[in-house]
Every structure is written in C-alpha cells, then in structure tokens.
Amino acid sequence: MEQALREEKALLLSGNQAAAYGAYLSRVQVIAAYPITPQTTIIETLADIMTKADWKHKFINVESEHSAMACCIGASMGGVRAYTATSAQGLALMHELLHWASGARLPIVLVNVNRAMAPGWSIWSDQNDSLSQRDTGWIQLYCESPQEVLDTVIQGFMVAEKVNVPVMVVEDAFILSHTSEVVELPDQAVIDRMLPPRAPAFRLDMEQPAAFGGLLGPEYYQEVRAKLHKAMEEAGRVLVNVDALWQKNFGRSYGIVEPYRCEDADLVLVTSGAISSTSKIVIDQLRRQGRKIGRLKIKLFRPFPFQEIQRLLGDVPKVAIIDRNCSYGHHGIFFQEIKSALYGSKKGDRPKLYGYILGLGGRDVTINTLRQVIDLTSERDEPDPETIWVK
C-alpha cells in the first residue's frame, strides 16, 4: 500500500474526495451540482481535479438542487454521462426530478451524503434523506468506506448504463464523507475498458427529432413502467457481474450484501453504511468469546436483494436489524424491508426479527452501542412488538 501511495496509485482521500475521483475516473462529461454541507467537499475536489487534470467536461453552476438534477437530465438526454451530488434537503428538493430521471431511463449517478432531515437543523448523518426516495425508481447503494465510495461511483455508471436506470451512491455524513483513508485509484485504462464511452439507447438528436417524456396514455403507461421494474430487477444481477469483474481486475469486491462470520451464527446483526465497518470489530470480539454471532451488511437497497436475504437469514434464529432511520408510525426502514423479504420465504420457521433505531442525527454509534443491541437481542426470547430506540 505504501508503494502505491508513493507512486500516487493511491491517495489519502476522504469519502467525498473519493466520490469526486470516482466521477473523474468515470470520465463524466457533465456535472451540475449545488453545494450543501456535508457534500460540499465533493464539489471542491471536483474543482481541484479540474484545474489539474486534462478532463473534457462541463460543470454547470445551478441555483438549486432541483436545477442540478434538471441539468443532469438534459445532459443525459443529450447522450452524455452526467453526475451530481447532494445531501438531505437538497435531495428532497430534487424529488420530482428523481422520478423524472428514472422514468426517462437516464443513467445518471448521484452521490448522496446521508444527512439528517431538518428541522431541527442537523448536518450529521442518518439515512432518512435517501430512504425517503425509496420509490423514485433509483438504484440505491450504501457504502462503508472511502474506497468503496470511489469504486461504487464507477460501478454505478457501469450498472446504470447497462440497464438505463439512475444510481444513487450513499455515504454517511462526516463518518465517511470527511474521514480520510488511503484509497487506491483503479487504473484508468482498465476503467476505460470496463466503462466505455456512453452509447445511449436514445438521445436528443437534431437529425432524428423526437418528443421525449410526452403524454403516455393508459393503454401503454403500465407496460412502460413494468419495463422500469424489470430493469431494476436486472440491475441486481448486473451489479453482481460488475462486482465480480472488479474482483478480477482490482482484487476488491463488495457484493450486493456482505455476510461477515454468519456461518453457524445464531444471531445476525444487519447493518448498512459505516456502521457495517465498526460492527466487524464487535463480531470479532464476541466470536473470541465464543458467541455465535455474525453480521450481514446490505449494500444494495434498491433493487432489494430478496434472494440473498432469504438465503442468508432464513435459517438464523435471531436477526437484529439496525436502522439509522425511521419510518415514522412504522419501524425502521431496513427492518420493514427485511421482514417483507422473509415473509415470502419458503422456510417455514422464519427468524425472529429484532428492530433497533439508533444513531439518528449523527449520534456516534460506538462499539458499546452495538454490543448493547446484541445483548438486548440475546436476552430476549421474543422481540418486543415495538422497535427499540437505542441510546
């Protein structure tokens, strides 16, 4: 690693810097973004790279996130590779156009830095901003390290352009966005082979004029939407292949879900984002004590990996699900999703599901927090009917 660092094949990068380098290595042609804490350093890093590197691109300054996404949609319709990044209220402001981008089947990649929604104002991490966009037709990928952010941005374009569905790459505010680690830069020549220049299925073309996004009557709307749904399902399979290719070329892979010491486990902790990383330490500690505990990280949230969940959790007696979010009036969102995935499972004896909400608004999720979750799960034979809010 230090050799790579000395040769500048690796850099000390924060999650946000990695997100910017991901765009650069993807040879993004149009970027339209509006700064918002904690996403701002993505824009700053892009500007920094632009001044140093020979990068043929257009950066569009906009007056809002709504316009940023509108610009990306326009650019993508024009046939080029478009990228943006935002956070929290900014993502919420894009909402209408998120539907538009997926409905128009545009392979845009968006990095969302997970930040709690206001009020009260919070610049710190939780997942309610991105999970609120669950049904907009965007692929959602949750990362746990700066390296994964960089890799996932590039993988995002590979998947998006294959299935014509936009991709949201998600990283935790500060915990990833502002934390620097040594990040390896994949070789540009290899990336160029894996991600050739975009060949759009259709685009705005003066020579072949057509109307896009026009009226779609009841006789066709449902069928066209069914195509989006099928493309979403296809996206999961494509990501598995892309990830395998990544492993082959760069020796790293993430999986759409990542089980950690789940074999023979009688309790599996389900996590997403940066907590997945810290939780490995807890699992190691408990395994040393002889406790059969594993962890399952969910990277791909949409399309939701039903089969993997059923396969990996179906036989586990107890599953503790950590949600850094809340669907008010229901449970944590990952809890609901996993519960629904397992309900359709063929296994008759479904696992007992324990839901925990914690770490909202950037509250630090420490080793102790996670051990508390495991202890609460271990000591209860039956889950509480209500989700437990862990301090």
Binding site: R105, F212, V224, K227
Partner: protein, 569 residues
C-alpha cells in the same frame, strides 16, 4: 407494431420503447381543418401617420429611434420630409392629436422626437443616399419650404436644380416669416447647406417678371413655381396706406432679417392667424405693447392652438368680436383705431360663423401703429400671362401641371394649406409629378411614400393588449418660462436628450404595426406561426392553425386580425 392513418400502434409490450418517446410525427393530423375563423396579418394605419402633413412613416422612425438607430430613423424621415429640424420646431403636429397613447399615460411627443432627429441629422451631417445625375436640369422658382422640398427630392432623382429667389435671403417664409424664438436662423442655414451639399444651386434677387423671365429658363427641362402667397389682404379702410399701418408679413420680414424699424409703442394687430400671433409676440420682444383684435372668437382663430396659448402666457391681450372701422390720425400720426363690436352670424363658405358688426357699438383703441395680418393671397405680378391663376392661386391640374406646358406649381401659391408640412408634401409630390411627366409616365401620388398599401383602417386603442404596456407619461419638455422669453428672440423649446428620445420612442404603441415581437409565435399552441425568411413578417401554417385567436389576443398592437373561413374550401 403497425401504422394506422399515420398513427403508430404497439401490439406487444416488447415493441414499446423503455420510456415515453415519440415514434412518429403528429403532423398527419391536420388539425387546422377544424376552423371557424382564421387569423391573418395586416398592418393598420397608425392614427399619427394618418394625420401627418408630410406623410412620414412615424412608427418606423420611432422603432429605429427606440433602438438608438438615429441615422436610419433620419433616412426614413428623408423619404417624406427633408427638413425634420424645421418641422420638429414649427409643424403643428396634427399627428399627436389622435395618438392612442393619450388614453394610457399621455400621447407620444412626436414633435419633440422629430426635433431631436432633425438636430441629430444636422450635427451628424446625415445625408440621403446620393443619386447619379441624369443630365437634366430643373428650375425652381421660390425658396420657401415647398421650393426647397422640391429641390431636395428632385436632386435625389438625379436632376440638377437651380433655385431662383426674389429676395436676397434663401428660405422664404422660413426665414422672413417665422420668428427666431420658434425657428432659429441657424436651423434654416443648416438645411440650406444640406441642399447645397446635394448640389442645388441658388440664385438670389431674381424676381419673376422683373429680372427673371420664362424665356431665360429655356435650358431647363421643367420649371416649378413655388412662390407662395406674397400679397397681403387689405382692410379696405381709408388711410390704409399710412406709414403707421403695416402689413404683417412685411413687418415680420423686417424683424427677421434684422432691418432697422421704428414702430409703436402701442400697436394693434388685426387678425387671428399665425401672422398676427407672430407679429404681436415679436413686437412684445422689441419692447412694444401689442394688442390683438379679432372679429370672431378664440374658437375660430386659425392660428396654431399652442401659439395662442403661449401668446396668452406672455400676457398679450387678445380681444375678440371686434371689427376695425376707421383709422384715426392726428397731425399725420396714427393715434387710434375705431372699431365695432361684432356678433357671430350664420356660417359662411368656410364653415365658420360670419362676424356681424353691431350697429352703434363704436369704440376706439388708442394706438401708435396698426398691423394688418388678415391673411395672404397670391401675388400675381410678374406671372406670365399664359398661366391661368386667380387671386387666390395658380390653377393646377392633376400632377401639379399649370396651364403652361413645362411649368409646374406647388405650395401655397398652388392652393397649399399654408403650413410648412403641407408645403413639404407639395414639394415632394410635385417632384414626382415632374419626374413622371419627363418620363412620360402617369403620376399617382402616394400619401405615405414609405408604407406599402396604406390601409384605410386606422388602429384603435381598444385593439391593443395593454398587458404588454406600462402606463407612463411623456417627458416634460424643457421650455423657457414666459418671463424668461419675452425679452429676446431666444428659442423657447429645447429638444429631448438622446436617452429621453429613445425612452419616449419606446413608449409608442406602434399602433397596428407588426414589430416582429414574436408574441404570436411564442403563444401559438399549434406552433403554426413562423417568421418568413426575410424576418420582416410571419407566415401562418393553416394546416395546423385552429383559429383559436390566441395570436390575435396576444398581439400587443393589433396587427393580427380574424376573418371567417370559407367553409366550402
């Protein structure tokens, strides 16, 4: 997938595109076949242009002025009026009277903009496009506005022009008749210089019948008489030839050319026309105490209304319903004028009520001098006998021809209406008539030479879409106050500044005139409107125009109209 009547039908899900993208044009659907009314473009005549004495395309001038394209605006002016710096000052501007803007903040001060453009032309030496000489020469007799106008237009047609003037000054009434506070002499000088620059020759002190005879004009292809009306009407009273009884135009000439003069101090000016007003106001500036008497009332006064207003501002008394009866002398000096009061009787041939003297109402007005300003008539002295004329005018036929072959006549002497603007129009039309005659072509005058096919329909205020205009007032014109102006002949009104002129021109509605503002194209829900290739007008694709009338509604200035569609078609 199949096509039915140009429409694409998808039969299976696989055939469908992945998103809403058009597969074929909707042009097969000629929705314009459903139409009760259809729009069409037709420029209406703006009311100002309808009333312009010289026939200027005022709207185009203002469009160019609005954009700061002053030289181009002057060129448009030159097509109808060679002397904007003169008309911008002295024309009564009937164009302003019907301005549609009056109902929305105040009428456009067209005269002030013309004043600005005239001064711009003079200071920037804006010249009309030069013509190549055609080898023919024309004599113009008289250097008043009609003669000078004709000289200008004939030069532009390639003729070589010699203007003969009876006096030693060029300009006719422009120089000798109009006081400097209305028209400074340098303005006339500048315009005369413009004609000299066009190659016009001037010969002064040449009076018809005295030292100028038709026989001397044999080298000219044509002769144009524009000698004006130089003879004053008489009172018909005894002692009218007294030294203290002046002819108005003679008095004005003396004042205007700066000859020494002894008159007054108490002067009674008789008359209600512009000459009377000019005399009284000039006398006031020379230190006299003028008083105007007029046999009818203010309403019947032929003088320009603005002039009358300014006269009253200067506190010159105007007494109405008074008829002079007798000049009273004492020791060879005039001491008073005896008058009768009058009342208005039945209408005379001019349509005005005739003043009827009231028996026994005699009274006298003490005075040191009397100025007769009763109107002017043709001075027939020196006109060749072969020319038909009466005491009013030289008789002309269509095409400004006199009874004498090769001699044409225009301006006040040929029944002009007495204003500078009218004289200029006469000069232009006579020029074209002469040109047509020399080319042996028929002559057809066009009222507005710069507008094709003048529409008899005048654009009305109610035809405009006021959402596109802001209510706004005209600029305040800078003018000397009465107490500042009565001690000298300094010009009363100063023109607009460049930015004021542009702003004022921008206020103009451009009534009934397409300005290519693009509203119709933008609003057309069927995208059936597009600019023609020359970008000076639009065309409508009636295959798709449904006649909804949105373009008509959204045209700010009433240049689009609806007509019934011929259903049989």
């Amino acid at each position: 997938m199949k096509k039915e009547n140009g429409r694409v039908i998808f039969e299976t899900e696989d055939e469908l595109p992945i998103t809403a993208v058009s597969s074929a044009s909707t042009e097969f659907n000629k929705t314009g076949s459903w139409k009760y009314l259809e729009p069409y473009y037709e420029n209406l005549t703006p009311p100002c242009i309808n009333k312009c004495l010289t026939g200027q395309d005022i709207v185009t001038q203002l469009r160019l002025t609005e954009e700061g394209r002053f030289a181009e605006a002057v060129q448009v002016l030159y097509q109808a009026n060679p002397f904007p710096s003169i008309t911008g000052r002295v024309c009564p501007h009937p164009c302003e009277q019907p301005c549609n803007r009056k109902a929305y903040g105040g009428g456009i001060t067209i005269r002030a903009i013309e004043h600005f453009l005239g001064d711009y032309a003079a200071t920037h030496h804006v010249m009309p496009p030069a013509a190549s000489p055609n080898g023919k020469a024309i004599a113009v007799i008289g250097s008043g506005p009609a003669g000078l106008s004709a000289a200008f237009f004939l030069s532009l047609l390639g003729y070589s022009i010699t203007v003969f003037e009876a006096l030693q000054w060029i300009g006719g009434l422009l120089r000798t008749g109009i006081p400097s506070y209305r028209l400074p002499k340098y303005v006339v000088d500048d315009e005369v210089q413009k004609l000299r620059d066009l190659g016009v020759q001037f010969e002064m002190n040449k009076r018809m019948g005295k030292n100028l005879h038709l026989s001397e004009l044999g080298n000219f292809s044509a002769t144009l008489l524009a000698i004006g009306r130089g003879a004053s009407m008489k009172l018909g009273l005894p002692a009218e030839e007294h030294d203290d009884v002046w002819n108005g135009i003679d008095l004005l000439q003396k004042i205007n050319v700066g000859e020494p003069l002894t008159i007054g101090p108490k002067v009674v000016v008789i008359g209600g026309g512009n000459t009377a007003i000019d005399c009284a106001r000039s006398l006031l500036r020379l230190g006299c105490e003028p008083k105007i008497i007029y046999r009818r009332t203010k309403a019947e006064m032929p003088a320009f209304k603005d002039e009358v207003k300014q006269t009253l501002e200067e506190e010159i008394p105007i007494d109405y319903l008074i008829a002079p009866m007798k000049l009273i002398e004492e020791n060879g000096k005039l001491i008073a004028i005896e008058c009768l009061k009058t009342r208005l009787g039945e209408k005379d041939e001019s349509g005005r009520q005739r003043p009827v003297p009231i028996e026994g109402s005699n009274f006298s007005i003490p005075c040191d001098a009397v100025v007769k300003a009763l109107g002017e008539k043709l001075d027939g002295c020196g006109l060749p006998e072969t020319l038909k004329f009466d005491r009013e005018k030289i008789i002309i036929e269509n095409g400004y021809r006199t009874s004498h072959p090769g001699i044409f006549s225009c301006g006040d002497c040929a029944n002009g209406e007495g204003t500078v603007g009218d004289a200029i129009r006469h000069g232009r039309e006579a020029s074209l008539a002469i040109h047509a005659s020399l080319l042996e072509m028929p002559y057809a005058p066009s009222l507005i030479p710069t507008r094709q096919g003048v529409n008899p329909e005048i654009a009305k205020f109610k035809q405009f879409n006021l959402a596109y205009f802001q209510k706004s007032a005209p600029p305040t014109l800078q003018a000397l106050q009465p107490n500042e102006r009565i001690y000298g002949f300094q010009e009363i009104e100063s023109g607009l500044a460049r930015n004021e002129a542009m702003r004022e021109a921008a206020r103009c509605f451009k009534c009934g005139t397409c300005t290519m503002c693009d509203n119709c194209r933008v609003f057309c829900p069927d995208m059936a409107i597009r600019p023609k290739r020359d970008r000076h007008s639009y065309e409508i694709n009636y295959d798709y125009c449904k006649g909804c009338g949105v373009c008509v509604e959204e045209c700010p200035r009433g240049a689009i109209h609806l007509r019934k569609v011929d259903v049989g078609n």
